[in-house]
Symmetry: C2
Subunit: 514 residues, 2 copies
């Protein structure tokens, strides 16, 4: 199967239906297909060859949709760039993936210049903003207007669909390689859980489109005949207004967005009666928050998905019908039809139900591997199972409960933050003698990056100063939002910092976490 | 992906739920899994090796379900036998597919002896009936009781799932090779059309389980957590009673069954309020019949699927939401999400919308090929598209209308009948000088096998006599139910019999059929 098949099918069945809405700009299936075919031809003309990576660094727009289709149409590989990363991080990923063509919008115009300085291999910048095309860049609209439509390469099956970079435990980002079959399988498997998405509805893209979670719902919507409505980025008031004004039927939200949205003073003043399906994931959600969102979106059903980029991305689903059961309030759901899920001990043996171990996943949706990292790939996929790094247990009915993170990763506002990466930066600060970075529960962010610091004798510092220092080197969302200063860090007999001990001070008691 | 994954998932999530109901016999997921693992071990013990074909000649039962799971569990290939075929036809298929192990129930005990006489390679007969095991056969229950559970081979992906024999244009049956991926893709793709099946519902198997149409809904139900309810075979009263008594939520019916059911005097006396989804296919349905069935099953939604064994089996779906549109009354629906569908001319060029051509289909669900028939495979799959042999057109919205059959095949009561095969037999009758066999519209059978005969000078015969003659050589459903005697057959300038001309005399006018 191949992704652009959904576009051909839409052309065959309903060429004049609206496919994208971006502010006042509306495009039908026919227009969108024509632009995608021309953009694919344009990319070819810029020297993109089969299998080449093509990046995009931009806020959400209808052009992001065109990019996601045009790159496979041109037989190339997607490389959507995390807009929250620092220029240094982006340079690292572009260079490692040998990406020579990058699409950038006006928001990242300045950044693009720095990327070029940092990575000489970045040959071509395509400007997909709305203003005039800057010097030294190729205009997106000019490219489309001046190119004949290309024939669809029908790239699909086990060919590479995209590289999706995630943070790395060693401080280096890793490129997750996903095939067409894996992303398509994840979407189709979720449909088999029942009432998953509206058919022919309106889907809002407010979560960043570079993130696989949103790419996943975009693919699902492409199967369901959705009209894709995009907003550049999340603002609580903008989300509320767009949901109501555009009569949105389906939306993916992360809990952080939900919190800021229900806290918005105008939240109660809109009509959300068209909203049918709310999908959410990336971090646990509090009962209070879920209740408030359910009251706001009273006609919508809520489904929660758990997974990760390496799983393309869905492993388990908590279905709307599971909502009534109080025992499932903290559950991430059960294995989706396409996924095999187990909890294993350190020797990869399945543990008894109720016992905490590492959550591992197998199936056709699992990543091909990490780009150019055979060793990391072999470790992550040992025994044929993707090792998620998440600690959890499974109850007697197969419901998974995520209780801890084995890989020492924090998920803050839907983004993965690896503690080691932040600690490496923090340790360079002259006042810091020792430090540990952990995630602590946070109503707004799901988890908040928190630093526990031992200062050098005679030195002084503040949380604000440490955060500022980190922001010079890494993305803002990775920098600690809070810090505490202690005399010493708790260590094991072997001298290893006991992070679990540090986390426990910030978390509600859970008898299952040993 | 692999089919038995659905069973492992059911074990993980709900081991004590009912998986099968066969009369008074009810089995949970746990019992069913244990029996399947033992049956797989038993088949291994009987000498079944990876990739070997294992046949089953039986009416519907919970053991048919066990067979469908146990054979891939044992790393072997299914070969479900058409129960309506003559012994000679079955021998042909078993011999060609080198099937040495066959499961038979009490209904086909006698037939089994004849099969053994006809095909020396049939080494083992497993008796899956309820009575005592006949001499010379292996008892199904004894086999399960005496064997340890085998480990699941997890046969899947592009490995062969089964051989499904269909009638052949040249009078010889052909074995359609389907992979796990193709049958799984067809099921998952249909889920993406929306409200397809009940989750955790009760699915009735009244259509024969040897037929891929029922295997398809059985796979779909395995994803949706259905309890499979089986009845040995169709009777109108039995169907009505079982639907009501077992509170069936999902059922696949062929139009012939629908007709006989609504005509049954007791039809109005049952409670069908649990019935949510009726799937039907294999032949067109009259508006009158659909209205009557809709009135009877007032709470159910009706979806129609069009396809064939070679398509595993679904190509297009007419969704419940299409029902309101009078223009779609005779449509077979639009391409399912997993399928690409086109209408082409004799040079395989796509024709304009509204123009009749051959319906061709492409996708991961398409068969691997015909068993040991490279030439037939190459012809059927030329250019990468499965040539259905069905003539039809597509409207502006992508709806397919099947108007004629190019391959000269008749679908009667859901079974394929190739005219050539019947004509070959009929021509051997001493009174027949020339003949043509066509399908004519029939309220009960969808199409009826009808013979147009020119008698030899001085000879006499009747429809009943010709039918009886045919039944000695081929399955009863292939023998002409009616016949007409004419002076001469209409022929083209090249001397070819103009079947379209013969058919037109029996069909309502359709201006599109040239």
């Amino acid at each position: 199967m191949y992704l652009t098949q959904t576009l051909h099918q839409a052309m065959q069945q309903d060429p004049d239906r609206l496919l994208t809405i971006d502010g006042d700009r509306r495009r039908t299936v026919r227009e969108s297909r024509d632009r995608i075919a021309r953009l694919a031809g344009g990319l070819r003309g810029l020297g993109v060859r089969p299998g080449d990576r093509v990046g995009m660094l931009a806020l959400n727009s209808d052009r992001y949709h065109e990019y996601l289709m045009a790159v496979p149409w041109a037989d190339a590989v997607l490389n959507p760039v995390n807009t929250r990363w620092s220029a240094a991080e982006i340079v690292y990923a572009l260079e490692e993936s040998e990406t020579s063509v990058l699409l950038v919008d006006e928001t990242f115009r300045e950044t693009a210049g720095r990327l070029r300085d940092g990575y000489a291999g970045l040959k071509t910048l395509v400007y997909c903003g709305d203003g005039p095309c800057p010097d030294g860049m190729v205009g997106y609209e000019e490219l489309i207007a001046s190119t004949e439509p290309a024939e669809d390469a029908r790239r699909g099956g086990d060919a590479l669909f995209g590289l999706f970079y995630t943070g790395g435990t060693t401080g280096e980002p890793k490129g997750v390689m996903l095939s067409h079959d894996s992303v398509l399988m994840s979407a189709l498997g979720c449909f088999a859980t029942g009432d998953w998405l509206s058919q022919g509805g309106r889907m809002l893209h407010v979560a960043p489109m570079f993130h696989l979670a949103d790419v996943f719902v975009w693919i699902s919507g492409s199967f369901a005949g959705s009209t894709h409505v995009t907003v550049p980025q999340f603002t609580p008031g903008g989300l509320l207004a767009t949901l109501a004004e555009q009569r949105i039927t389906d939306v993916l939200l992360v809990p952080t967005m939900m919190q800021l949205m229900v806290d918005h003073p105008d939240a109660g003043g809109f009509d959300f009666s068209h909203l049918e399906h709310v999908l959410y994931g990336t971090s646990p959600i509090s009962e209070t928050l879920l209740r408030r969102v359910s009251e706001l979106f009273s006609r919508a059903s809520f489904a929660q998905a758990y997974g990760m980029t390496e799983l393309a991305p869905v492993a388990t689903v908590l279905r709307p019908s599971d909502r009534g059961d109080p025992a499932l309030r903290r559950s991430a759901g059960r294995a989706a039809p396409h996924a095999e899920v187990r909890v294993v001990d350190e020797e990869d043996n399945e543990v008894e139900r109720g016992v905490v171990g590492e959550i591992v996943v197998r199936g056709d949706h699992v990543m091909v591997g990490y780009w150019k990292r055979e060793e990391d790939t072999a470790t992550a996929l040992r025994g044929g199972w993707m090792h998620t790094g998440d600690g959890g247990y499974m109850d007697e009915r197969g419901y998974v409960f995520v209780v801890d993170r084995i890989k020492d990763m924090i998920i803050s506002g839907g983004e993965n933050v690896y503690s080691a990466e932040v600690e490496n930066v923090l340790a360079r600060h002259p006042a810091v003698a020792a430090c540990a970075v952990i995630g602590v529960p946070d109503e707004a962010w799901g988890e908040r990056v928190h630093a526990v610091v031992v200062l050098r004798p005679g030195s002084q510092s503040t949380a604000a100063e440490l955060r500022e220092f980190c922001r010079e080197h890494i993305a803002a969302y990775k920098a600690p939002r809070t810090a505490e200063f202690v005399e010493a860090l708790p260590v094991s007999g072997a001298g290893k910092i006991l992070k679990r001990e540090l986390r426990r001070r910030h978390r509600p008691a859970d008898p299952r976490v040993g």
